[in-house]
Amino acid sequence: MGVAILGNVTQKLTVGWLYPDLMNIYGDRGNILTLVKRAEWRGLEASVVELGRGASDRMNDVDVFFFGGGQDREQALIYDDLREFKQESLQRAVANGAQVLAVCGGYQLLGHYYQTADGERYDGIGLIDVRTEAGKKRFIGDVVVQTDIGLTPRTLVGFENHSGRTFLGSGAKALGRIIQGKGNNGSDKTEGCVQGGIIGTYLHGSLLPKNPHLADHLIAAALKRRGDGALSSLDDSAELAAHGWILQRAQRR
């Protein structure tokens, strides 16, 4: 395997996994593995920093953060910790060009708030201009999205399972338009959000393994701040076959 040399230094990619033991409900490890492997296959030195509860001085090293979904019980356990130990350093990292992928519960918590059916509000950390309200019916099923952020192919495929209805403010742009599924709120045909280096989405499945182009987008964007963000191409036939399988099924419906 070739080694990417920049001067005489091997390029590094550090993936920061927020609350891996508590926010990991929908096969989120797939997203981490995909980032790491795809970096390694290009000769980068990749590592994972687990950012559990409590303070961590490794937040500054992270190139790509991943923040997954959790059950209500676990989500309640990280709620204060996120504010106390992560909010500030996450904000700083993003300002310095780190990338963030947040899925489902993680996506909601990065927004302004989550409002329950009884009107009670739980504040998020406001890194992205979105707000979420509880809905009655859970949205469960395959999702196909058409993106507009320069990805090839333009589609993203995944699986959603959420009752939150997320609405975008003017600061956030939709990650894409829904072709199949419900997405952010089931009404405005949008799915996910992009704001600076942060991508929020309801798609799991896991998301990145079946969408290698999005994984590369995150890796390239994170590396760009240290100079070269161009990535060599990989054989993605297996990944794109899984991607295509969902697209085909969506067309048959």
């Binding site: 096969g27 593995l33 209500d72 356990l77 469960i140």
Partner: protein, 455 residues
Amino acid sequence: MIRKTAAVVAGKATGALSRFTGRGGGTTLPGDVARAIDPRILTRLTKDLTYGSIVVTGTNGKTTTARLLSWLLEGAGHRVVANRAGANLIFGVTAAALNRAGSDGKLKADWGVFEIDEASLAKAVEEIQPRATLVLNLFRDQLDRYGELESIARKIEKALASQPETARAILDADDPRVAEIGLNLTIKPLWYGLEDTSVATKTLPHAADARTCPKCGTSLIFDAVYVGHDGVYHCPNGHFERPRPEIAATNIKLDGFDALALTIEGTRIEMPLGGLYNCYNVLAAYAAARSIDLAPSYIADRLRTFKAAFGRQERVEFRGRHLILVLSKNPAGFNETVRTAVELAGGENFVIGLNDRKADGTDVSWIWDVDFEMLQGRAKVVIPAGGRAHDLAVRLKYAGVGAENPQTDPGKTLDLLIKSTSEGDTAYLLCTYTAMLDLRAELVRRGWASPYWET
């Protein structure tokens, strides 16, 4: 009474018709029909039982444990009615009871042994009024269908709390979420658990759930990990710990998928089932059997000749290859079957089957929680199969496991298996529920296995 008889007759006719037309084993539809005529039919039928019922629930091991228990009761001369084909919703239980009712509408059996889907337990307890309820474990499973583990756990707790005082809860002390349920009950449960750290690991698998203290939310400390998040644990702040098991298994010996041995209450049990996860099933069945006063020596003797259920370590000879079919349907289960096949049995040839129909769960993201990395460098042939074979192929690629081309067709899967293995080879078919049914149906079609309702 007339209504009960009418319901029984109509239900039984439906079952016969369903089997006759080859539309499956008639394992649930008759229950549907009978319940439409008499919604209380299951209660009325189970009241006919000489001794009563035992109900088995939990994420993994229901079918095997229920089958073990039936085996023990039948060997002791009891007539047992059981929902054997894994039809574990209330309709399946009703159908099983109907199947054993006479034309007079009376259920002719001494015991009922029913495996019940976790989400249906409350209804089952209410209708069946069991003498004992076994809760085996609570793992992450089919989130699209069951919802979060937490809501299932609360449902089970409510069901157990509603049992009459005479009914026993028999619980796995090693599962923190099951223990939490048991500690909330007013009547003390019968706890069982493993006591042999020689078969334990120290670290939790990635997909472990229930790893925080119910009182203070601190991460639990695990002194031993047996299966999934089942092990020996305590809260570092002293709020919560694993209850001491009254029925404990020690001196565990494992021999691949072929055999296991363990000692319970001083009695050595040796039997033809494999894997650490089956030690839990044997222990659970033993605890239930003891709760109704079967003798330890009898239990040990009887278990020696036990046969596994459909798709649970079932063995099929296929063109000179030894196929071992093992249902693997969620991360905790899959991790154990892969571990048993690779580490204990030295398995080299695999078909991994993944479907995403309703019975499998339509969300396949959980495959990323399975440690397929265990196959790396050990497996020679790995065939990703089933409707979502392409997803499996990607999973295996990122696990560093060299795999064959994904096969979505059961016939082509078997053809490739024959092509890539030799006569005398053993192959492990680890599959989700309907992926197993599909492969099995293909084996039946080619004359290598019998239909599942005959096993």
